[in-house]
């Protein structure tokens, strides 16, 4: 079994292992838990579906466990704000797992306005043999009760129950785009377009505002917060990205209100290169720390950038996701695609990064070998357990066989959400209505 990345071979072997959810509502978020055993998806209808990896099959030891549905529940319902005559969408924007500390699993899920802490627990036994009740719950005639009977727990079919344990509401005027659990496992942050709040997981009736970029006069508004995340190891550090392509790192020890950043990460732009689209395509749609905590990755419209936290003036690595779109910006602006918010993710060893694109393509970049690959998530082009064929987009000139020209890309088929198992080479990729789970061939 090969360690390291998928890029060691010249022929990249990435096998389609399982395809889940034939038809679902539009998937809006995908997240593995800390062990990778569970995979949660959130959708536009406010539902959360959790998949669980089967324990490795001893007989068929050449394949890892499949993911099967573990639990499904309605996390958020549509609401109506009567004061402002605004509909609050039930769409799940983000799910974040808490590390497991007992038999139950906990996750945070959020829509635009409300964050909820859900407990997912298993029940595999039930008490039987009550003294005063029949099995169906009816009370026994007391005159027939002649002996004392103590109920015992007997096994039953596994039931997975999800219950909301905390509801964190009414703290955001604008739309929540991120939640991030602190490494202290006691607090978490939630970020909307203009503010970031700090919560304690046990306390729902108040939160602390730690970032507020709302100008006194809204007409002076020039940028919004697009994503925020806590550092994986330093519980005092978090970052937030902006629509202008900057990332600010803040230290909560410095002051209660972190309006002044400790570090500002921004790549200088040649002013002669500036166009109408420059600011729009520089808007950062996602920011993710590496597992090591030494780097962070940002995704803007056309590229993925890796930043060293010790260097603010430019990224250390830049990967072009779909540079051929630069000559299509006019039509992408007209059909609103230029505002699509792509996410990005690291593999467990921080050696490979992945992000989505159009036409159900997704891209991976190996940071060590500097090799990259384009793959497609679609049922028509993939048979189960077959090796995925690399794709290539032809930007201009003569199109080679098997290449796809930029003009035939389907911009409605976008992969915005991807996730990588924290330990293994298993990835989850969400197209609009389908979830794909891929894993590498184990030899």
């Amino acid at each position: 079994k090969k360690k390291g990345g998928w890029f060691q071979n010249t022929s990249l072997e990435i096998t389609l292992a399982l395809m889940a959810t034939l038809q679902s509502d539009i998937i809006s978020t995908v997240e593995f838990n800390h062990s990778g055993e569970l995979l949660a998806t959130g959708d536009k209808g406010g539902r959360v579906v959790i998949f669980q990896q089967e324990q490795e099959n001893k007989i068929q030891s050449h394949s890892r466990g499949e993911y099967n549905v573990y639990s499904t529940f309605q996390s958020h319902e549509p609401e109506f704000d009567y004061l402002k005559s605004l509909e609050i969408e039930e769409k799940i924007n983000k799910i974040r797992w808490l590390p497991q500390k007992n038999a139950a699993q906990f996750l945070l899920s959020t829509n635009d306005k409300t964050i909820k802490l859900w407990k997912i627990s298993e029940r595999d036994k039930r008490p039987e043999g009550y003294n005063l009740k029949e099995e169906d719950g009816r009370y026994r005639d007391p005159t027939t009760v002649t002996t004392l009977r103590v109920p015992v727990f007997r096994p039953m079919d596994l039931m997975v129950e999800a219950s909301p344990r905390r509801i964190f509401a009414n703290a955001h005027t604008y739309h929540i785009n991120s939640i991030s659990i602190n490494s202290d496992y006691e607090t978490y942050l939630s970020a909307d377009d203009l503010r970031i709040n700090l919560w304690h997981l046990e306390i729902t009736d108040r939160s602390f505002n730690i970032v507020d970029i709302k100008p006194a006069n809204m007409e002076e508004l020039t940028e919004v917060i697009t994503a925020a995340e806590f550092h994986p190891n330093s519980c005092n550090t978090f970052v937030y990205s902006s629509s202008k392509g900057t990332i600010r790192l803040c230290d909560m020890r410095a002051s209660a209100l972190c309006d002044r950043h400790s570090k500002l990460f921004e790549e200088p732009e040649d002013p002669s290169n500036r166009s109408f689209f420059s600011e729009i395509i520089s808007s950062i749609s996602d920011v993710k720390f590496s597992h090591s905590g030494r780097y962070m990755m940002t995704r803007d419209y056309l590229s993925v950038k890796i930043w060293d936290l010790n260097m603010e003036n430019r990224p250390v690595e830049t990967y072009q996701v779909h540079e051929y779109l630069r000559s299509k910006l006019c039509s992408l602006y007209e059909n609103d695609c230029i505002f699509d918010k792509f996410e990005c993710c690291w593999n467990g060893s921080d050696s490979v990064v992945m992000t989505g694109s159009y036409n159900n393509f997704f891209r991976m970049f190996d940071r060590n070998t500097k090799r990259d690959i384009t793959l497609e998530a679609s049922r028509e082009n993939n048979k189960p357990r077959t090796v995925l064929k690399p794709r290539k987009v032809c930007a201009s000139g003569k199109r080679k066989k098997d290449e796809i020209s930029v003009d035939s890309l389907d911009f409605n088929k976008k992969i915005l959400h991807t996730a990588w198992h924290p330990k293994e080479n298993i990835i989850a990729v969400a197209t609009t209505n389908n979830l794909y789970i891929f894993q590498d061939k184990v030899n």
Binding site: R47, T72, S272, S275, R326, S327, S396
Partner: protein, 129 residues
Amino acid sequence: MSQKQEEENPAEETGEEKQDTQEKEGILPERAEEAKLKAKYPSLGQKPGGSDFLMKRLQKGQKYFDSGDYNMAKAKMKNKQLPSAGPDKNLVTGDHIPTPQDLPQRKSSLVTSKLAGPGFHQFGSWVQT
């Protein structure tokens, strides 16, 4: 500008292969796209990242018709005309009261869950080793 074009034309044609000088080769296609856009929409403002654009982003929710507000405003205005929606219907201003004509169709809030339905659990069964 024309001098730049001369220098960068040969590079632009093989742009798909280059990784290193992306920014330089990107000028021409991006500017050409900008020109296209300006030709289509001459009234487009100079600052796309300005407050109008961001305000639109902040006001994501749909605005609904409030008959109370509407009738109060009508009564106040009397002879004057109610301010109309204007080109940007989603932008909320202090004076604008949505009229019945302005409203987009409300989407149905209850989406039936195919995911949670009975047909769902069949996935995965065809993947056998």
